[in-house]
Amino acid sequence: MNITNIFNSSVGKKFIMAITGMALFLFVVLHMIGNLQVFLGWEELNRYGAFLQGNIELLWPARIGLLVVVLLHIWSAIKLSAENRAARPVGYANYDPTAASYASRTMLMSGLIILAFIIYHLLHFTVQTKAINFTGRDFVKLEDAKGRHDVFAMMILGFQNPLVSAFYIVAMFLLFLHLSHGIQAMFASLGWKSPGYRSLISRFALIGSWAIFLGYISIPIAVLLGYGSGYLNEHGYLKGVLK
């Protein structure tokens, strides 16, 4: 028996779920730190944007790596859920999910909604499909004073739409639910949740998931409260939105 056996066994599939979950959690942390540079101003954020897009030899391996991780996470979720359903063909007339948290019972649902959000989010800010940003403006054509892609203006314009921001906040809440259970579960699945670390891991999961939630939603909320509209005025971006 060797390592490839993990694709067939129940515990092995949970390893895949946990390892990919951990990779995605790390991505979500780094992505949030990157995004929060919006509060440092357009200069900093656009420099960071240009840096990420600038090195194609690093950009594409990173993107492909992320895609593989996401696909493995989804594959194991589908496989495990299907097995779980099959394991109880006749359900209870009366079932009390004793001690199981709401988050732990709805991982599949929260995951699927997050997936729908990710697809929208990629079309919105990465592919920059004009039809779905609801500003009537082509994000690809935004350029800052130094001739770089104006990520700052794109973020402000994008989040000024209350519906887009609302969907974003709802998705981040589901990510919070998903992580509040997922962070603990990945340590348990990998067997790192020994008694000595149990309370530390629970606290880490709680603080980690709240930090991710608050960090991400601070951006649309700040924009809805007026952050960045002065910058859009200076550059005459708002005129475009009005017409």
């Binding site: 129940s10 949970k14 390893f15 009390d96 004793t98």
Partner: protein, 256 residues
């Protein structure tokens, strides 16, 4: 006490089964749950009806035979208690009580509330023994065992194999049972020697029996009459991971 019971009735393994309502009158609060069922059954027998079939043996909470899901909770919801040690004072006069069998593909219903839990025996057979050659009796203290390890092994060995963990789990997963069996052997020096092949074999058999997967919800730990800790599941995952990384072999002990 006068109660209304909603009980799962199923003639045999092929019958689709249904919930049937029975009155349970003149119940003494100090009766155990199973004694209450005995009273109801006596009434049914007197009327010439088929009594409700349910499993029980010691009725002291130590054998793991009784197996009732009461009001949606395996063993009824009193912490660290089997259904046979649950007393009617736990309920209120006039209550309606739902009684169902363990629900899992791996535990097919044989009749009413009785299920076939042979899957657990096959998991234990798949790896749950220690190959010790017979011979002269070894000295009692020849193999030193640490106090902490000995206590932890005893905690795991407290598992009575009732199957409440499977019944309570939203995924009908047997991870708490299997992890308790894996841990109580691997924690002790006599069992440690074969721990790699044992964990691989037992997990393989568990998967073959058609149990679900662990989502770490903690329902199993909450209903376990012996309060087996969720930590054992993490311990088994760790052992399984280490055994897999080392490329350990099952050596035909999987029951195939």
């Amino acid at each position: 006490m006068n109660l209304t019971l909603r009980v799962w009735r199923q003639k045999d393994a092929n019958d689709p089964g249904k919930m049937v309502e029975y009155p349970a009158n003149n119940i003494i609060p100090d009766m155990s749950f199973l004694e209450m069922l005995d009273v109801v059954n006596e009434g049914l027998i007197a009327k010439g009806e088929d009594p409700i079939a349910f499993d029980s043996d010691c009725r002291e909470g130590i054998c793991g035979t009784c197996s009732l899901v009461i009001n949606g909770v395996a063993h009824g919801g009193q912490r660290g208690t089997t259904a046979c040690q649950l007393h009617m004072r736990f309920f209120k006069d006039g209550d309606t009580i739902t009684i169902e069998p363990w629900r899992a593909r791996a535990f097919p219903v044989l009749k009413d509330l009785v299920t076939d839990r042979g899957a657990f025996d096959r998991i234990v057979q798949a790896g749950g023994f220690v190959s010790v050659n017979t011979g002269g009796t070894p000295d009692g203290n020849a193999i030193p065992v640490g106090k902490v390890e000995s206590d932890l092994a005893m905690d795991a060995a407290a598992c009575i194999g009732c199957g409440a963990c499977v019944a309570a789990c939203k995924n009908a997963s047997a991870m708490l049972f299997v992890s308790a069996k894996v841990s109580h052997l691997s924690l002790l020096p006599q069992g440690k020697v074969e721990k790699n092949q044992r964990v691989l074999s037992m997990v393989k058999q568990m998967d073959k029996e058609g149990f679900g997967n662990c989502t770490v919800t903690g329902s199993c730990e909450a209903v376990c009459p012996k309060e087996i800790s969720l930590n054992f599941i993490a311990r088994m995952n760790r052992e399984y991971g280490m055994a897999t990384l080392k490329g350990a072999d099952i050596k035909g002990r999987s029951g195939d």
